[in-house]
């Protein structure tokens, strides 16, 4: 479903992704892990057709990016890391806009919106403007908007950000159910235990390079660690107690 071959990407001549190659098959849920600034969001944006690689090939469902970006965008659902919305629209209006932009037939669209709003417990607030929504409510709207056209590929960049425990559990179950339906999901997150529980496979990006890839069991075995968090700390060089903590405490005492 997704093919990344020797992809590099640079912002203002500063290369932030270096020669990354991987592929993701249909129906897989793949976790994308990495510290802040590692290149996770950039990777997702490249797949969504929002950025153009400076080298290499990106293909989604056999379509080459950026040449066939419009066709790719028809097939993907994308939850961006920043919850940017048109805040003067209501929740209902925003979902309608996204569905209609994807040519969802009107009756089906209204049915989907109603189901999503009810499941996300947003139905009573459907006619409130998005600027009155809390962070978690906005996140639910973004997730709903990404699913509105029933896409084959779902790209999630920190989707659980701001969600309460119940909503987070709901999203995890939803992802598993979507994967069972044959959807492909690329899930970027800092929350390692969610990735461990939900994803078939994980990829760890560090300083713009893909440093590990495999099932969580494979990653644990190859690094001789018992949890994904330990694997992550080992591979990203954050092993042991963080020296930053003692610096902060010393600064507060000064």
């Amino acid at each position: 479903m997704i093919e990344f071959r020797h992809v590099a990407f640079a912002y203002d001549r500063v290369e932030v992704l270096h020669d990354i190659s991987f592929s993701i098959g249909r129906g897989e849920i793949v976790g994308l892990l990495g510290p802040n600034g590692a290149g996770k969001s950039t990777t997702i944006k490249l797949i969504a057709g929002l950025l153009t690689p400076s080298a290499g090939v990106v293909r989604v469902d056999g379509l080459t990016l950026p040449d066939q970006a419009l066709e790719v965008k028809q097939r993907i659902g994308y939850v961006p890391e920043a919850a940017v919305l048109f805040e003067s629209l209501t929740g209902q209006e925003f979902l309608e806009l996204c569905g209609r932009l994807h040519d969802v037939e009107e009756e089906r669209l209204q049915h989907r919106i109603k189901s999503l709003l009810e499941v996300f417990e947003l139905f009573p607030e459907r006619d409130s403007r998005l600027d009155t929504y809390s962070k978690g409510m906005r996140q639910k709207i973004l997730i709903g908007a990404a699913l509105m056209h029933n896409p084959d590929l779902i790209l999630l960049d920190e989707p659980l950000s701001g969600l309460d425990v119940n909503a987070a559990i709901l999203i995890k179950d939803l992802l598993a159910a979507l994967a069972a339906e044959g959807k492909t999901i690329l899930y970027s997150s800092h929350v390692l235990d969610v990735v461990e529980k939900v994803c078939n496979r994980a990829m760890i990006i560090h300083q713009g390079a893909l440093i590990a890839e495999g099932t969580t069991e494979e990653l644990k075995a190859s690094t001789h660690r018992s949890t994904l968090e330990e694997v992550f700390r080992t591979l990203t060089g954050a092993d042991g107690a963080s020296p930053g903590v003692s610096k902060i405490i010393a600064g507060l005492r000064a």
């Binding site: 950025l51 950026p66 629209l89 409510m137």
Partner: protein, 538 residues
């Protein structure tokens, strides 16, 4: 109206749109979206004017064009002169409005970020944006040209069909200006890196206003152009040159519009990463230290916050550049003409305008200070204790005072050299004292916490009338300076002391008022935020 809308959204128009690569369904979705967002005042001043703002601007243009029409009729202008005058006026006014609106509308990273991953092609998006801009043309063209078109019937030798000719020409001109303005941004997007687009858009928006301020110099400029070397002598050659220029202009507009419809959304959304990543490092400011020592850490915070955001906030810079560009030219012009002529001399010296030009600059600064791009960061102030907000206001005063001092210090060397230290010092002291009064008066315009509100298009619509009234007041003040004060050094010294004292006391009152305004804003926002907590059931 419904019938017109039905035709517009019917199959014939859809087929025509599709021929240009525009997806009709998504086009209308976007047109409706932009209309709804403008009416609901989302990201105000960025998505076209809402009907209220356009209504106010329309009324102002009606009055202005009515006065000019009366002048034209009384002066017995020929229909051709009348038409040419209004078309020229329309071009200047609309290029200012539309370049700014096109910039606000087209270079909008927030919108790009929401829509970039949606299946919308560039042609569809650009067509929807152009349609949204054409609302301004459709609304304001008759407002500015309706009365002159009808009034043209009262001109000598005017035909009965003159109003039709006038309005058709006006619509043709404004539509061309609108397309050209969009094309300018197409060129910018094609050739300017994404991270520089915002700044480039701001400068482009300021160009027409600067051009208007520079219009007085046009005859001199044209007098120096070697026309004989540039323009061919034969009529055929001239026609060929005219055709070549016309062809180049049309090609430039088409290329610009095509550039917009290429990877437009991606480039706009990429702007959100652009900006001051480099070169915006925190610098220790001596002025900030002085403000901190005089009025405490909260005042230093106020100084640092307002002075840094003045340089970095997109909304502030965009609006300030548009207003400051003509004013900067006016200041430069007053200084260039007046610095040699001593204000105490017999003849009139344009330097008398200088203190007021600085004052007007402070008025614009204060009027724009409440509005910013990151207004959602206002929550920070909810946590600040109330006395800290009073001191914060003092810091803002310090920043404004610094602008005034710097401007006067920059002028000082030339004035001392030309007039001698005594007259220069007295004039600069008078200028500083006048500036202090301006600061005290204009700080009241900063209604609340700086940079914490969305821009209000209604305020920008009021800008021109307020400026014209301000010019009248300045004219009176300059007359008093020339005819009364600058006849004796004692009178100027006395006036300076009185103005300085008034500025000092009024400044203290303004700082207190601003502190109170800020506290009110915080209290109001805390009250309003309660509604959110009710909605999520906490």
């Amino acid at each position: 109206m419904k019938a017109v809308l039905a035709v517009l959204r019917g199959p014939a128009v859809s087929r025509a749109l599709a021929r240009f690569g525009v997806d009709p369904k998504r086009y209308w979705l976007l047109v409706d979206l932009f209309g709804a967002m403008s009416e609901r005042q989302e990201v105000m001043d960025q998505l076209g004017r809402n009907n209220a703002a356009m209504g106010m601007a329309g009324i102002f243009y009606l009055v202005l064009s009515g006065i000019l029409t009366v002048v034209s009729v009384i002066a017995h202008a020929t229909p051709a002169t009348h038409l040419a005058m209004f078309l020229l006026f329309t071009v200047f006014l609309f290029s200012g409005i539309l370049l700014s609106e096109a910039g606000n509308s087209l270079v909008n990273p927030t919108e790009g970020m929401v829509l970039a991953h949606q299946p919308i092609n560039g042609a569809t998006y650009t067509a929807a944006k152009l349609s949204h801009l054409l609302r301004i043309v459709v609304f304001l063209t008759p407002a500015l040209n309706g009365i002159p078109a009808l009034g043209g019937l009262a001109l000598p030798k005017a035909h009965w069909y003159y109003p039709l000719v006038h309005l058709s020409a006006a619509f043709a001109v404004t539509t061309t200006v609108a397309l050209a303005c969009c094309a300018v941004f197409g060129w910018l997007m094609r050739f300017i890196p994404a991270k520089r687009l915002k700044a480039a858009g701001q400068f482009a928006g300021a160009v027409p206003l600067a051009g208007m301020a520079w219009m007085g110099q046009l005859p001199k400029f044209f007098a120096h152009v070697p026309w004989r070397a540039v323009v061919p002598a034969s009529p055929t050659g001239r026609l060929a040159l005219l055709c070549a220029c016309g062809f180049a202009a049309v090609a430039a507009v088409i290329f610009g519009l095509r550039s917009l419809s290429a990877d437009y959304l991606l480039r706009v959304s990429a702007m959100s990463r652009g900006g001051a990543r480099g070169g915006a490092g925190s610098r220790r400011s001596m002025a900030a230290s002085i403000v901190g020592r005089l009025a405490g850490p909260a005042a230093r915070a106020g100084y640092a916050f307002s002075s840094r955001l003045m340089l970095r906030d997109w909304q502030f810079r965009r609006q300030f550049l548009a207003t400051a560009a003509p004013l900067a030219i006016a200041i430069g012009s007053a200084f260039a003409k007046g610095w040699k002529a001593d204000p105490f001399a017999e003849g009139f010296s344009p330097i008398h305008f200088l203190p007021h030009a600085f004052g007007l600059l402070l008025i614009f600064t204060c009027a724009l200070l409440p509005f910013g791009s990151d207004y959602k960061g206002a929550w920070v102030f909810r946590l600040a204790p109330a006395p800290a907000l009073d001191a914060f206001a003092a810091g803002v005063y310090g920043m404004l005072a610094q602008i005034l001092v710097v401007l006067n210090v920059l002028a000082a060397p030339l004035l001392i050299w030309k007039w001698g230290p005594a007259h220069a010092a007295l004039f600069l002291a008078f200028s500083l004292a006048t500036g202090a009064v301006y600061i005290a008066a204009t700080m009241r315009l900063t209604d609340g916490i700086p940079f914490t509100r969305q821009p209000d298009p209604k305020r920008s619509a009021l800008g021109l009338p307020v400026l014209m009234m301000g010019m009248v007041v300045v004219g009176i003040a300059v007359a008093i300076q020339h005819f009364v004060l600058f006849r004796s050094t004692i009178a100027v010294a006395a006036a300076t002391i009185i103005l300085a004292a008034a500025g000092w006391f009024a400044g203290r009152a303004s700082i207190a008022a601003m502190g109170a305004d800020m506290q009110n804003q915080v209290a109001q926002e805390v009250g309003e935020s309660g509604t959110i907590y009710h909605e999520v059931g906490v």
